[in-house]
Structures are given as C-alpha cells and as structure tokens.
Symmetry: C2
C-alpha cells in the first residue's frame, strides 16, 4: 500500500506529494512546525491525510515540551493547535483531529501521561482512518458494475487518506474483486492532482485510465462514455452539502443532466454536524501563482489578476449517495 503518512515511532515521515510523480521523496521530521508547513504547502494533502498528519504533528508538538508545569504545557499546546488550525481552513478532518487532541489535553493533568496519550490518540486516529477507508472502499466497489467507466476528480486515494483511499479506494477494491472497470480522471487544475497523483495511483494499481482536462468531463458524459462518478470530500455539512475540490459542483450538475449517478465517499471525520449547510463552510483561496505560473513559467500577461478558490460547494440535491464507514446514504432527491 502507498503510505503517504507514516509514524516511525519517534518521528513522522510524509511522502512529499508536490514532487510526484517525477520523484518519490520523503520528508522526515520531529518538528510540528514542519508538519504544519507541509500541510499548507500541500506536501501532504487530502482531507483525511491532513487530519492524520495534523494528529501526529500535535503529538510531536507535545514531545517538544520539556517542562513539567501543566499550565505551561497547556499554553504551549494551545500554540501548537493554533499553528495547526491555521494551515488550511476547509477540510473538516483537520478540525476533527484538533477537537480530539484538545479533549485528550483536557482529560489528564499529568504532562508525561498526556504526551503518551496524545501520541496514542494520533495512532488511533490513523488506524481509524485506515479501517474507515477500507470499509468505504468495499461499500463503494459494490456500486460499480463490470464494464463501467467511472470518472473521478482530483485525488481521493491512498495518498489523500493515509489509508486505503475513498473514491479511488472504491475503484481499487472493485478491480481487486475482479470487476472490469476503466477510469477517466480529470487533471484537476490548478495543482494537477489528477495528472500527477491519481494517474500515479491508478498506474500503481494497474487500473486502465485515460486522463482528460477538467473541461472535457461534460463532453464524455454527454457521449455516454461515463457510467458513474465518484469523488471524495473535504467537508460535508449537516444537510449533506459537499465541499470538495473546485470543479466538483460542475461535475455533479452535469451528472444529473446526463442521468449519471454521482457518488461522494468520505469517512465520518469529514462530516461537520455543526454546520447546517455548505454556504457556511469556509472556502480556501490559494496563491494566484498557482494559476499564472506552471513550474515557474509565467503563462499570463503581466498584471493579470486571478481568483483561486480551492473548493466548491455541491448542494445535496445533486448527490446520488454518500458513502461512509457507516454505510451508503442514498439521497432521496436524486436517486437514479
């Protein structure tokens, strides 16, 4: 299995996703600031993988503290938590992790025990994501039929989940079960997670795939070339609205227009029960050079202004079903 986040007992190893597919390079650190920076720079990315990396990062932050005073420890950990919380605003899993780690800190007053409890909680979060994504992969695989061509967007595989993957986990599991499936995957501008990461994972898994630009998905839907769409999620609101990589909403609308089932696969750590609907979820705006430059080459005239939201909101009415480790929730309004 691809291991994007790997706890080595006293340090954290991250597969640097910005270097793929050209180079399989690892980043090894004991510094929570390096983990936070890796999340911001998207060296580790994908909502569940961010949650897991942040958990280990927070534990590393605790180990760094050498004093025995509980008040000082809590004050130090508050800085660690704030640093982690400021990395990226949209993925719920990051905040699910922070809440869990925070509640560990509140439970115990012995700082030595606390450090141990925090690393144990991080390992537990990681292990739970692995189990959850394994269940999701199996549930998702059941939705595909032999001979299907399935579209996926961005990357929701082992890399993105520190586990088996969600959307791509389901594709890998379907193939493992002997189903003859094919994939069409979008390149996913601006950071090309589809061209770089999904293509790499599908190649490793031996699943036949064809890469397209984001703007081509609708054409292949209208031609009848796509039998199902499956994507991951960065945050799911209480009403079922899904925030995921920019371009997801467009795919969901086109799927409904072309009578193609649109599935979202995500662990419960992605669900935000405190947010009533998608419009309240913060959408990260990223650096403009992600669009104006590719690998340092400037594409645009000088002074070109850019908008760069990293996510969009897909209203629940466009979603056929949401797959979590709890089961498959079919959405009444759009059952096909």
């Amino acid at each position: 299995m691809i291991r994007s986040v790997n706890w080595l007992g006293d340090c954290l190893q991250l597969l640097d996703q910005t270097k793929l597919p050209a180079k399989e390079a690892y980043l090894t650190t004991t510094d929570y600031r390096v983990v936070a920076s890796a999340i911001t720079k998207m060296q580790v990315r994908g909502a569940p993988a961010i949650g897991v990396a942040a958990a280990y990062g927070i534990a590393l932050g605790a180990f760094e503290f050498s004093n025995v005073n509980l008040a000082q420890f809590r004050s130090h950990m508050s800085v660690v938590m704030k640093t982690m919380a400021a990395t990226r605003p949209t993925a719920k899993n990051l905040f699910t992790t922070i809440e869990r780690m925070e509640s560990i800190i509140q439970k115990t007053s012995d700082t030595c025990l606390l450090k141990q409890a925090l690393i144990e909680e991080a390992i537990k979060i990681h292990s739970e994501e692995q189990s959850a994504t394994q269940i999701i992969s199996k549930l998702g695989a059941n939705l595909f039929r032999d001979g299907d061509t399935i579209l996926t967007h961005c990357n929701a595989g082992p890399l993105a989940t520190a586990g088996y993957g969600t959307a791509i986990g389901a594709l890998i599991e379907a193939q493992r079960q002997g189903k003859n499936i094919r994939v069409i995957n979008t390149e996913t501008r601006p950071l090309l997670q589809g061209s770089r990461l999904t293509a790499w994972e599908l190649k490793v898994a031996g699943i036949p795939f064809k890469l397209i630009t984001d703007s081509m998905a609708a054409y292949f839907m209208s031609k009848g070339s796509i039998q199902a769409i499956i994507v991951g999620a960065d945050r799911i609101a209480k009403n079922g609205d899904v925030v995921n990589k920019i371009g997801t909403y467009m795919l969901a609308v086109l799927a409904r227009e072309n009578n193609i089932p649109f599935y979202v696969a995500a662990p419960l750590s992605t669900f935000d029960y405190d947010t009533p609907s998608g419009e309240f979820i913060p959408i990260e705006e990223r650096n403009t050079t992600e669009i104006t430059e590719i690998y340092g080459t400037v594409m645009t005239p000088e002074g070109t202004e850019v908008l760069n939201p990293a996510f969009d909101i897909t209203p629940t009415c466009y979603i056929t079903a949401i797959i979590s480790e709890k089961g498959v929730a079919w959405q009444g309004k759009n059952s096909i």
Copy 2:
C-alpha cells in the same frame, strides 16, 4: 486594432498566437504550405481567422503556379485546397472559404484572371469578416448592462477573427460605449487560450478581468458573481447546436442551472446549414502531449493515456441567443 492576419500585397503576415503573451512575433510567408502548417499548429487560430488565413493561403497557392494550362492549374489548386482542408476538421469557416475559392476557380478559365480573382476573393472574405464582427460586436454589446460581470471561455476576440472579435468584440464595444463591465475568463486548458490570448486582449483593451481555471466557472455562477456568458463558435448546425472549444457545453448547462443568459456570437461563415445537428459535426482530437506536458515539462506518470477532443457540442436548448451579423436570434426554449 490587433491584426492577427494581415495581407501585405504579395505576402501574408500572421501574428504567431503560440508565442503570446510572452512575445509579439510575426510569421511572414508566400508559401501556402506554411499557412496550412500555421493553421494546424494553431499559430493562427479561431474559426473566422482560420477562414481568412486559409483564403489568403489558397491565393498564395495560385500565385505559386507558373504554367498557363487551365487543367494543370485546376489540378494544382486541387492539391492546395486539399492541403488546406486537411489542417483542422471542425471550424466551418475553413470550409466556407474553400467552397468560395472553389467556386471562383470554376467560374473563370483564364489562369491569370483566376489568380487575380482568388486574391480579390480572399481580400473580400477578410473584409466581410471585419464588417460582420463589427456588427456582431455592436449587437452583442447591447446585451450587457452597466455593472455586469461577464464570463467568457477560450478566445473569441480580434486574434480569433481577423476582425473585431465576436464574444470579446462585444465586450470591447460595451466598454467603448461607456458601460462599466468586468470580465471573468477561463484559462481554457489545454492550450491556455484564455490565460494567454484573452487575458492579453482584455489587457490591451483596458477591460478589468479576473482569470480562473475552467473548473471554477460553475462556482462563480452559483455565487451570483456572473450576470452573462458569451462565447464564440467553431461551427453552428442547422438546428442551432453549437460546436465550440471544449468546456462550452459544461458552461451552458451550468448557466441554465443558475439562470444566467448564455450567448454565442459568430459570423454567418460559421453556420453550417448542411448539417442538421451537432452530433454530425467532426470533433478534432489533438495531440496527447498538449495535456501531459506544459512547455516541455512532463506532468504525468510514464505511459499515461489521454483523451483530447478540442471541441464539444452544446445543444441549442441551452443557448439563450445566437448573435450574427444578421441580428440576434433568441432561442425559444431558453429565453430568460
């Protein structure tokens, strides 16, 4: 005015659109093969500009012929026509030009007069496109209101038309009339006509614009940031189906979903009255490296397969109005 195609009396000058915006480089030639190759390589692109460049190219082909025998001349011209017809399959304007030049050849039997008649016809085609796009720009500008933010896709400006532009012509004219408009333009993968060419034209025209990836258009529609969409066309079938740059169909569906008017602007040379509907229009498949590489840097794992259709088909039911030099044709099914 930006001059993408320029007849210099005895040779043709083309602004090399593959070099923009970094460099304003011109290609000057008397060889029809160079013109054909410039069309294939998209050094000159945009359906109306292709039609104009091909007309001059065919005239250059005639000038190259030094024999006086009519049969040999016609046989030579048949090779010229075939070379030109094989450059790109989708844009109707290329074939409109070939039909017009062919009918000149059939009309006259004196090869000297024929050469003169062919260059006169090419100049006439160019001049007609200039007039047509001027009228289209004015008609299109009337559709926009003060304060509108208008989305456009790919490039349908002076560069693409060898005239005033169609979609972007309307934007430039609206601003000239004193309307306070803003533009959001898609980068248009894979060849980034939006980032490179539309951004350049809008900058030259002084229209405020923001660049987005193709996958972001839907998000800004759903947020209410876009009041109208206008695009050009490569071919329009008899029933009003529009073939245009890949990604157009997706925008039209999303526009209807979000109650945004969707306009197509194109001269009559783009209309294909012999083709009943969009499904019969040939869709060009271009080279896979357009997607796997950017400026020579490979993005994808080795062996990645790609699909690369350059155009898609927007059914007429999604189009609010088609603007040609004959007027604005409102489509009954989608009037907003």
